[in-house]
Amino acid sequence: MIDKEVHDAGEAVSGIENGATIMIGGFGPPGQPVALIEALLNRGVSDLVVINNNAGAGGDAISRLFGAGRVRKVICSFPKAIGSTVFDELFLAGKIELELVPQGNLAERIRAAGAGIGGFFTKTGYGTELAADKEVRLIDGEHYVFETPLHADFALIRASRADRWGNLVYRKTARNFGPVMAAAAKVTIAEVDHVVALGELDPEIIVTPGIYVDRFISTGYAPTNPKVTS
């Protein structure tokens, strides 16, 4: 029988070692797997490469990971955050490496990794310093820049509901990077609000099929009010 649910966040993140490359879902707080990030902090691993859209904000779980000095490099599109100086201080002191990627290129590089695509040409970034030194090709009269896939050892994502096979559905804009990250990592660990019986999720609306999910925890969150999760 397949049952991908584990009952402890620490157990869920077991296997993550120093130096791992970790995708973390979320666009700001929505979709951020807070319990898994906290378990990762407790695990004490460091020298991590983190792939996330942001670099933490306002004391959230990701900013605590940065603040604790666990991250060697971040690959993201927007590390600036109002009211948060954790990343800024590390960056300006030269204590963290930043690979800045336009947001759509970030999402598509992650998608490409999960889909077995060895790279792609995109119009985004052409003629800018973020495309400097990258291969350019003229296709149908327009310039495109070559971008490579982004793989990871682990993906930590958050979804709304799961069944024991690891089929996932999301809620509203918390979906964001979850589905593409789930496919792009060697091991995908989800944090869901609720677990439901197999068969309860309508097969037509499952967003992430369980094939992409290795294990998950259920937190029992009811994320209808921001105060609950902050």
Binding site: F27, G28, P29, P30, G31, N53, A57, S77, F78, P79, K80, F87, D88, F91, L92, L98, L100, V101, P102, Q103, G104, N105, L106, A107, E108, I110, R111, T122, K123, T124, G125, Y126, G127, T128, E129, L130, S160, Y170, R171, K172, T173, A174, R175, N176, F177, G178, P179, V180, V207, P223, T224, N225, P226, V228, T229, S230
Partner: protein, 219 residues
């Protein structure tokens, strides 16, 4: 009279047609949503994965899973849809978004856009979705004050700040005037301040094409 931020937003809103799919950037562009005419059905896209975005959530009615690109709690309109980030940016890059409205540090006479970093060594670079919108939206509109706080024109012959996209801006709405970028140069469509086209060219620092009509020149 120069326009206020809200007046500029209202002026942009007037030009968004019925049925358009629109992405609004952070800052003054977000205000455009408040002025979209009630009799038009305009669908707002937010890069974090939603079409049919509604206005800001009322205090106490925020949903922790529903924000806009500026991480402000918003609402959903009837008919809204959600999708993941790669789909959201495929929508932009693939030319499906009709209009995007963004702020800018500088726009050049060729329509080059600079809005993601300055040359300051202590600033934290952050690009977000700006380059994707610049490359992919059908019509790229910019909203900005025409002059910086120190009085320099932000409409320039060549951008001194790093580019977000080359030759992508089609129209520039400012507190002083509205401009179109066309192959022959920059054309003035409307002037709000007490200036004529010649005086405006002098202030901007290069020759602008005058396409104002008597109805749109206020002096």
């Amino acid at each position: 009279m120069r326009l206020s931020r809200h007046q500029i937003a209202a002026r942009v809103a007037k030009d968004i047609p019925d049925g358009a799919y629109v992405n609004l950037g952070i800052g003054v562009p977000t205000l455009v949503a408040d002025y979209l005419p009630e009799d038009r059905e305009i669908i707002l896209h937010t890069e974090n994965g939603m079409l049919g975005m509604g206005g800001a959530a009322l205090p106490g009615q925020e949903d922790a899973d529903l924000t806009n690109a500026g991480k402000v709690y918003v609402t959903e309109e009837i008919g809204a849809s959600y999708f993941h980030h790669a789909d959201s940016f495929a929508m932009m890059r693939g030319g499906h978004i009709d209009f995007c409205v963004m702020g800018a540090y500088q726009v050049s006479a060729r329509g080059d856009l600079a809005n993601w970093r300055t040359n300051s060594t202590t600033s934290i670079p952050g690009v977000g979705g700006a380059m994707d919108l610049a490359a992919g939206a059908k019509h790229v509109y910019v909203v900005m004050d025409l002059f910086s706080k120190t009085g320099e024109s932000k409409l320039v012959q060549n951008c001194s700040y790093p580019l977000t996209g080359a030759e992508c801006v089609e129209r520039i709405y400012t507190d002083v005037a509205v401009f179109d970028v066309i192959p022959a140069g920059v054309r003035i469509l409307e002037i709000f301040d007490d200036l004529d086209a010649g005086q405006l060219s002098t202030l901007v620092g290069f020759t602008l094409i005058d396409a104002t009509t008597s109805a749109t020149v206020r002096n």
